[in-house]
């Protein structure tokens, strides 16, 4: 449980950090809160020569609303997300989800940028980002580019991010007033990754579902955007039949690994249960 040796960098600017990444290639990794990467290094599952700490870079923290979008700095901690008044008013599912991550001590350190960038299917924020249709803003040696959360994740620990890029912010279209939302997560204990979890956002209009988005956590190699399941709700009164269809479609795309959390059939069914419960709670909350 002791990391191999590495060189520690603490750049003062984003350009400097990107420069270091560009220089050292895949021998280097950036660290934000460190609560995923450092344990991997201690287990020697992540072996790297250069660790680039982003803590000293100004301007990567905070939440603001701008032009119908919520902009969240990548270094904003889970704890700050939970306490943020703008998110509480405009996008309360952020706090609901963040509160399901690890424990308070970890949430003081863990950041949204680290959570979404790491590519671990067990992380909770990626599925939520897909449900919210978030965009990640990444900076590399040639400037910035934007990547949609729904296309960002490729495989376990593989993402669309290049080795020399750093996610600097997350942009979320502000959900409409009166939207319903819920993040349902089942875990074995505090601090655990989900056995299965589901994020649901929906809006109702005239007793019918106008929009819906559903995404699943930790029941596949990547977070799973359940487009068809959400589509099954749109235009319906979100009645039992529609919910059954959505659940079945969500279960249909789940392909969890068998692990100590349970065998494949259980985790698949549980993904369905999480979707069912999240829809019910989102519906209750929808105006």
């Amino acid at each position: 449980m002791i990391s191999g040796s590495f060189e520690y960098h603490r750049p003062k600017s984003l350009d400097e950090a990107v420069g270091l990444l560009d220089q050292h290639g895949d021998d280097a990794r950036v660290v934000a809160g460190g609560h995923s990467l450092i344990p991997m290094m201690k287990l020697r599952m992540a072996m790297l020569d250069h660790l680039i700490d982003l803590q000293a870079i100004d301007g990567l923290k905070g939440v603001r609303e701008e032009g119908g979008n919520l902009l969240i700095g990548a270094m904003t901690t889970q704890s700050e997300l939970i306490a943020d008044p703008t998110l509480a008013a405009k996008c309360p599912i952020m706090a609901e989800t963040a509160l399901q991550i690890a424990d308070p001590q970890v949430r003081y350190c863990g950041t949204i940028g680290g959570n979404v960038a790491n590519g671990d299917p067990g992380n909770d924020m990626p599925a939520l980002m897909q449900a919210l249709d978030a965009t990640y803003i990444a900076q590399g040696p040639n400037g910035t580019r934007e990547i949609a959360a729904r296309v960002f994740y490729e495989a376990v620990f593989f993402t669309a991010l290049q080795d020399n890029e750093i996610i600097t912010a997350v942009r979320i279209p502000t959900p409409p007033d009166g939207h319903g939302h819920a993040y349902e997560k089942q875990k074995r204990k505090i601090g655990d990754y989900a056995t299965a979890a589901a994020a649901v956002l929906l809006t109702m209009s005239g007793g019918r579902c106008a929009t819906a988005a559903i995404a699943l956590t930790n029941v596949g190699d990547t977070p799973l955007y359940a487009e068809d399941a959400a589509a099954a709700l749109i235009g319906t009164a979100v009645d039992a039949a529609a919910i059954d269809r959505a659940v079945a479609l969500a279960e249909g795309i789940a392909s969890p690994a068998a692990d100590a959390r349970g065998p494949v059939d259980f985790r698949t069914k549980l993904a369905g249960v999480m979707v069912r419960r999240a829809i019910a709670r989102a519906l209750e909350r929808a105006a």
Partner: protein, 807 residues
């Protein structure tokens, strides 16, 4: 008594003796993070050891190349079995009379077995260098299923002892992978009872392999002083004196040249009873290199290589009359011992005190046999917060009673009551050979059932079952009742020894002239609060305030010899020694007081903290006054000073018991078990410190919750340990832990000097059964008799699915 003398009540209060909820004196340092644990030790020139461990569960070691590791700057040595051979330390004896490889000798027998020991200037260098030790392995077939261990074509694991007729003196072996057969009871009479029975039940009940997982892992600092030839080892030892003797026997260092010190220990629960390769390697490295060597396990090393618990696979049978009177018990156990039999059991008991399996019930005949087998799993087999194999035994009988209750359609609580050993039957001889010292089970059970309003719970459950049937709820309510009897306080030397060391314990007391004292014991606290409670026992015995009594343990150079702390033995054995030594002090004090007061000894009587002249209470000498007099005015012919030592060999074990009720709600769609209510009534005899008892019960129940609902050290078919980290191993936090409701009755042990029985482990024993019974009970009306632990989400869901309850 003159007017200036406070009342007996006020003086008793001031002593903070027996029965007082005295605050723990240890907590001043522990709550401030100022404890002194092994890993806090820093000695000049100290080096660090790190193991190279086998990735394979069963393989031949073809070669070990240490050259690249030795070339790393800062690496001082790399030890292998070849280096230990000249010292004859490549194998070491286990507590069970088997041997265990210190470093793999020709083959490895479990994943993460110790293969080489790298010693370097710091941990980072040691870790880096350990990766550079090149070991060539030839993989061998792996055996993990204990039921296949004695197949004719099973791969032979222990080639080192394949021709040995018995292991640890436990009788003939039937197969090279067989360790022992232990059978107890009257087989023929049991068969007759089963033949004649109205009803019989049989159930296969597994108790999964778990790990005690103390917060502090195992470790030590070994320091050989080359000048005076004295070896000092600070380590996480639950039995420091036994470690000293074993260390002397295997190293040939004279015992007076070895000092073993247990500093503050961060929990043990049985994990720190045994002797581990890390200790031996650190000692050898310190002797060879002439400087102190520290070895500290990582969490994953602790979970995967130092002592596990349970792994008992039990077939239980009960015979009964149709009105629910149990007429016989039969049980067979396959005990998975792992690669080496390193069980911490008294020599005569290869399966511990599993023959307490008749539980709290008057069962006329019983027969038990246990077969221990070797597999490619880590060695151990310690008692995880229970007396030796008592939790397994208690779990079996408490589940079997429920199974029988379903078959007879008698309420499980009622069936227990019908079969309880009655108050007037104590001392009670059990069919499997124990003499239960005391108990009043009916009173305890009545109190428990009344407190939880048991009939109301069953009525609520009936309503819940109807609502479930009607589709109004997806939650099932379960009520688990358990009534356990522990057997603790090992123990009488006539029954109990470990490696030939009788399991007495000891206390040595010195009274200082100004009326304070130091007491040293052969035990060692790992969180039990001995410094608090033993001072309380003594305060009541000798009339000095507990605050004026220092309790010291764990240093073999100063403490009297004892067998250490495990199996709830500290209070029953060392606590008894403390009281007895205190009585010796008081006897001498009485003579001094008589001399000072110019009366005959018999004219004095004890009054809380002083001797008073009978009929003239104004004439008195307080213990503090007597203490001073002991150093300047003792009677002619008497030696000065006021000291005593007692080595206590208990006449019997003690038998704490309890009635536990667990109410659980199970979500059949998610498999989540929610413990709505947990009531624990414990009878541990005389209660020394009610607050510490509550704390012990809370901790033990939390561990029971962990075991029942999630803990498992599992292996795949090629012997890879699964989930050997706290990511998977279920250590409940405050969030997962329900409110624990505690209660008590108080039937003192008749043979213990103060009537105390021990309590630390009761809640683990009773808690697991109560929780498991609740989970099983939730599904009982669908015909379920038993479902295996751990009752984690997926297994509970699978149970519901098998019963056709999932959507």
């Amino acid at each position: 008594m003159n007017e200036a003398t406070p009342s007996a009540e006020v003086r008793t209060q001031k002593l903070q003796g027996l029965g007082t909820a005295r605050k723990r004196v240890e907590d001043v340092r522990f709550t401030q993070g100022k404890g002194n644990y092994v890993d806090d030790m820093k000695l000049p020139g100290m080096l660090f050891g790190e193991f190279v461990r086998s990735p394979y569960a069963h393989a031949r070691v073809k070669s070990i190349d240490t050259s690249a590791a030795l070339a790393v700057p800062g690496v001082k040595a790399v030890l292998t079995a070849e280096d230990l051979k000249p010292l004859n330390l490549h194998w070491m004896p286990t507590l069970a009379g088997d041997v265990q490889a210190v470093l793999a000798d020709e083959k490895v027998l479990f994943q993460f077995q110790e293969v080489a020991f790298v010693v370097a200037e710091d941990r980072y260098i040691a870790s880096d260098a350990a990766q550079l030790v090149e070991v060539e392995y030839e993989e061998l077939p792996v055996l993990v299923d204990p039921f296949k261990a004695m197949d004719p074509d099973a791969v032979i694991l222990r080639e080192d002892i394949k021709d040995q007729e018995e292991v640890g003196g436990h009788g003939p072996r039937r197969h090279p992978n067989h360790v022992f057969t232990w059978d107890v009871g009257d087989k023929a009479n049991v068969e007759a009872a089963f033949d004649a029975a109205d009803v019989t039940v049989e159930e296969f009940i597994s108790y999964q392999r778990v790990h005690p997982c103390p917060l502090e892992t195992c470790g030590c600092v070994a320091s050989m002083d080359a000048i005076n030839g004295k070896l000092t080892v600070w380590g996480t030892f639950q039995a420091p004196h036994a470690v000293r003797t074993v260390a002397s026997l295997i190293s040939n260092i004279p015992e007076h040249k070895i000092r073993i010190v247990s500093p503050d220990i961060g929990g043990g629960f049985g994990n720190k009873v045994g002797v581990y390769p890390g200790y031996v390697c650190s000692i050898v490295a310190s002797i060879v290199l002439g400087v102190p060597v520290k070895w500290i396990e990582s969490r994953m090393e602790n979970l995967s290589s130092t002592a596990f618990a349970r792994d008992y696979h039990m077939t239980g049978e009960l015979a009964a009359t149709k009105d629910g009177r149990i007429t016989g018990l039969r049980c067979h156990v396959i005990a998975n011992q792992g690669a080496f039999d390193a069980c911490a059991d008294p020599t005569q008991y290869p399966a511990g005190f599993f023959n307490i399996v008749t539980g709290s019930y008057d069962i006329p005949v019983a027969y038990l046999s246990v077969d221990g087998v070797y597999t490619n799993k880590a060695p151990g087999g310690v008692a995880y917060r229970c007396s030796f194999r008592v939790t397994e035994a208690s779990y079996l009988i408490e589940r079997m009673i429920d199974v029988l209750a379903r078959k007879l359609e008698i309420d499980p609580a009622e069936l227990r009551i019908r079969n309880f050993i009655k108050k007037e039957q104590f001392p009670y001889q059990s069919a499997l050979g124990w003499e239960y010292d005391s108990g009043d089970y009916h009173t305890a059970m009545d109190k428990a059932l009344q407190t939880v309003d048991y009939p109301a719970l069953r009525a609520e459950q009936a309503a819940n079952r109807e609502a479930f049937a009607n589709g109004e709820t997806r939650s099932l309510m379960g009520v688990g009742v358990a009534f356990f009897t522990e057997i603790v306080g090992a123990g009488p030397i006539k029954n109990c020894d470990i490696l030939g060391l009788g399991m007495f314990d000891s206390c040595e007391i010195r009274i200082h002239p100004t009326g304070s004292a130091i007491a040293r014991l052969g035990t060692i606290s790992q969180g039990q609060g001995h410094a608090t409670t033993f001072a309380q026992i003594l305060a009541t015995e000798i009339g000095l305030p507990a605050d004026n009594i220092t309790v010291e343990e764990g240093d073999t150079d100063t403490a009297p010899y004892g067998l250490g702390t495990y199996g709830s033995r500290s209070t029953p054995v060392a606590g008894a020694a403390t009281a007895m030594a205190g009585r010796k002090i008081r006897a001498k004090a009485q003579m001094i007081a008589a001399y000072l007061l110019e009366v005959h000894d018999d004219d004095l009587e004890w009054d809380v903290d002083r001797f008073v002249v009978k009929g003239a209470p104004e004439r008195a000498k307080t213990m503090a006054e007597i203490a001073f007099a002991a150093y300047n005015s003792v009677p002619p012919g008497m030696e000065p000073g006021l000291e005593a030592v007692s080595y206590y060999d208990p006449p019997n074990m003690t038998y704490p018991y309890g009635a536990y009720v667990c109410v659980a709600d199970i979500d059949v769609d998610t498999g989540v078990t929610d413990i709505r209510r947990f009531y624990a009534l414990d009878d541990c005899g005389t209660r020394i410190n009610p607050m510490i008892i509550d704390g012990q019960v809370h901790g033990g129940l939390t561990e029971a919750l962990g075991i029942a609902l999630g803990q498992e050290i599992d292996y795949d078919e090629i012997g890879n340990i699964k989930g050997g980290s706290l990511l998977d191993y279920f250590l409940p936090t405050a969030v997962e832990t329900p409110v624990w409701e505690t209660d008590f009755t108080e039937v003192p042990s008749p043979h213990h000097p103060i009537g105390a029985k021990g309590v630390g482990e009761s809640p683990n024993v009773g808690g697991v059964s109560a929780i498991s019974n609740a989970v099983n009970d939730a599904f009982a009306h669908f015909g379920l008799t038993h479902t295996q632990m751990p009752h984690d989400h997926w297994r509970v869901w699978k149970t519901a699915e098998r019963l056709g309850l999932t959507g």
